[in-house]
Amino acid sequence: MIQEGILRHAATRLLGLIPTLLLLITIAFFMIRVAPGGPFDSEKVLPPEIRANLDAKYHLDEPLLQQYFRYLGQIMSGDFGPSFQYKDWTVNELIARGFPVSATVGGLAMLLAFVLGTLIGITAALKQNTATDYSVMGVAMLGISIPNFVIAPLLILGTAVYAGWLPAGGWDWSWQRMVLPVITLALPVIAYIARLTRGSMIEVLHSNYIRTARAKGLPERMVIRRHAFKPAILPVISYMGPATAALITGSVVIERIYSIPGLGSYFVQGALNRDYTLVMGVVIFYGIVIIVLNFIVDLIYAWLNPRIRYDEAS
């Protein structure tokens, strides 16, 4: 019964994806075209004949609406087209090469942030208003407030330039090159998750059913693990959907500081270079990732929270 409900829910959600994406594509397409300047504007103005040839090659000489429908038709077949900026690559190739890198760094950072963040949050909640609580949460506040473009160079200076333990940047899929970016990316998320966990844990610990569990004489560890953990983690789970989507699609700051070939820079570079196809490609891809992750979060949520079941709707 439950499974059937979930399946139906999944189907509805997937159908809902189509108008959402269409809206996203339309808005993104016209917004980037409205921006002044184009992909071929540069310091050295091109001779008009060459400019005309380039415009024709990329169909930029056609009316905008015609280009829009051409683009829609093209992405129906899963083709995001050639990049204007990186002329040897198609947008599909750039995403296919960039996403695994971003997903690895972002995924590891999320894993680290989830484990450490919840541990810190629970510890702080259990020792509420003690020195441990204050110091742990104080450090967490620091993690949120210090931007990563400050932390990253400090980490590089300390561990790479002076100590020589880790490489200062670059990418070759070795764990050594992942350590610093993963830590930098995880730090603010650890702090945020710790704060979320602490808050909801404290709330849960004050609820009636926990008092009941304790009254029944269950050991404290059992109370936390069996009864308090799941409900306390719910706000963290709903935060993790969009947060994971943001992390695994790359961060432009992290990628620039550590020279990582991820997806994040394409959002910024693509927009600045008026690389129309690249911007559209990464925006659509990001949209899909968010929708999928939110869906997964919903499923986990339902599993964790007995009050939400998708068969209710039927």
Partner: protein
């Protein structure tokens, strides 16, 4: 020291015997920063400096650069200049080969050039070959691509015809857009046979590009670095970190604001050298205020203290600029603004005087707009210039910064611009590459300067040669600097960090440093 002598001895021995064993004993790898990811490694698509530098290690044209960055014969063994500089006949090296062993023929050049000029290719840099016979007609589609002025007389002899004499064409022949293409290679730049000192062996976009020595290269035995690894690193401070962590041997640049620190801490590695570029403020002469009064433009130019600008505001080795053409071009002495000889005090006095003559004064302050594209350096320059104008002339300057593409678009249109950030980095070391910008009707002329005397001088320079030509060009520049369509502020410099144990990296005005000349003189610690 003994080690050094031994290694040098080794090189000499290598040079003599060309033995494989010897080369292996000296095997070393050079790791270079590349700046941004190259936009393309296809000779007809590459536009950015990163791509062009990379292509010059992979491929070679009729002409190439020597260690000092001067043009020398590359794939051509020799050439003859005919018809008063309108026709060039090149004899190809008999040992010029593609990396797959095929000989490089004159037909490979003809095919490549025709491809570059085909509208479907849309080669953005094809404009560099505009002096070639029928180039413009072919680009416009009014002439067949076969009519282009390039012809294979024999497999080993190539003829290039020009519309007018263009002595800089030799340097253009060292630019990737003029390189040959192997007959099978057209659509796959990654697997394509190359004819340069190195072959591409691995490319991970935005991470690293690895080149290995090309044994088929005609001067392979003199290429000492077995492999070169290029790292695209967009962020200069990230590049510096990696250099300091020992992961790079040569950087593409240095981070802004770190010049003083580097001078103190890495002075043996720091290389700063004049470069083929000038930074200026352009004045849109279509705006009535700026266009009508030459005195006003001169006053604005004189009120700026370039010493303070280059030493205090920029402070990374830039040189104060008084001309459009930067110094360092062979046989040419830039025609500076005459007032550059005066002291700054005298200049400011003069500025106030002619500002008054032009009908402006403090009682009725002039309001100007200074537009620049968003960047830390440009912002600092703009703020300083505005302060100097205010102080000396009482001019109120409104600073407008715009995102890059918006800025270049506005500058090209010339509707809203008044004073704007400008400048030029030459494609080839010839004064004409700067002065041509100001010929009436040139689409790069964003000041909309138009002067028939200047145009005529440029025209007559085109049909002269040697010293006479340079003299005429200098007269044209002097004319330009009297009219002040642009206010030159400083000359660019190239900035790199190079490990002291590397030789063969000679600072030069073109800032070209082919990897084939790099050598290592000591073991790395």
């Amino acid at each position: 020291m003994p080690l050094l002598v031994k290694r040098l001895g080794g090189y000499i021995l290598c040079g003599l015997t060309l033995s494989l064993m010897c080369q292996n004993a000296l095997a070393f790898k050079i790791r270079r920063g590349l700046g941004p990811e190259p936009d393309s490694i296809h000779i007809h698509q590459a536009q950015g400096l990163a791509a062009i530098n990379l292509l010059r290690d992979l491929r070679e044209g009729l002409v190439t650069f020597d260690e000092k960055g001067e043009p020398v014969p590359g794939q051509a063994a020799s050439w003859q200049v005919l018809d008063g500089g309108r026709r060039y006949q090149f004899t190809l090296r008999p040992d010029a080969r593609w990396s797959n062993g095929d000989p490089v023929t004159a037909g490979d050049y003809v095919r490549a050039w025709r491809r570059a000029f085909t509208p479907e290719t849309a080669a953005a840099t094809a404009g560099l070959l505009k002096d070639v016979l029928n180039a413009n007609e072919v680009l416009q589609g009014s002439a067949a691509v076969e009519s282009l002025g390039i012809r294979a007389i024999e497999p080993g002899i190539l003829e290039i015809s020009l519309v007018e004499p263009a002595p800089w064409i030799l340097e253009i022949l060292a630019h990737p857009v003029s390189f040959p293409l192997h007959s099978e290679s057209i659509d796959n730049p990654l697997l394509a046979p190359v004819n340069g000192p190195y072959v591409l062996s691995d490319w991970t976009p935005r991470a690293s590009i690895r080149l290995d020595r090309n044994p088929q290269f005609h001067a392979a035995q003199s290429v000492l670095a077995d492999s070169v690894e290029y790292f695209p690193i967009e962020e200069p401070s990230a590049e510096l970190s990696r250099y300091r962590a020992g992961e790079l041997d040569i950087t593409e640049t240095i981070p802004a604001g770190r010049f003083g620190w580097l001078q103190e801490n890495l002075s043996a590695d720091l290389r700063v050298h004049p470069y083929l570029g000038t930074f200026w403020l352009g004045l849109n002469l279509k705006q009535p205020v700026l266009g009508h009064s030459r005195e006003l433009r001169q006053a604005l130019a004189l009120a700026i203290d370039r010493e303070i600008l280059s030493k205090k505001v920029l402070g990374a080795g830039e040189l104060p600029g008084w001309s459009v053409v930067p110094p360092g071009m062979q046989g040419y002495d830039p025609a500076k603004m005459l007032q550059s000889e005066l002291s700054q005090e005298e200049r400011e006095e003069m500025a106030v005087r002619i500002f008054g003559q032009a009908g402006f004064g403090r009682h009725e302050p002039l309001l100007l707009e200074l537009r620049y594209n968003t960047s830390g350096v440009h912002r600092r320059v703009a703020v300083a210039v505005a302060a100097m104008w205010k102080q000396v002339l009482g001019v109120n300057t409104q600073l407008v910064n715009e995102e890059w593409k918006v800025f270049v678009n506005n500058r090209r249109m010339g509707v809203v611009t008044e004073v704007f950030r400008g400048g030029w980095i030459a494609d080839f070391a010839d004064p004409a590459s700067f002065l041509d910008l100001f010929v009436s009707g040139n689409n790069l002329n964003s000041t909309f300067y138009g002067n028939s005397d200047f145009d005529m001088l440029m025209k007559s320079a085109q049909i002269s040669s040697g010293g006479t030509r340079m003299e005429i060009l200098a007269r044209a520049e002097a004319r330009l600097m009297e009219d002040v369509p642009v206010i030159p502020l400083y000359y660019y410099v190239s900035r790199h960090l190079v490990r002291p144990e590397i030789t063969g990296y000679v600072d030069n005005i073109r800032d070209v440093h082919l990897s084939r000349y790099l050598r290592l003189i000591t073991e790395k610690p």
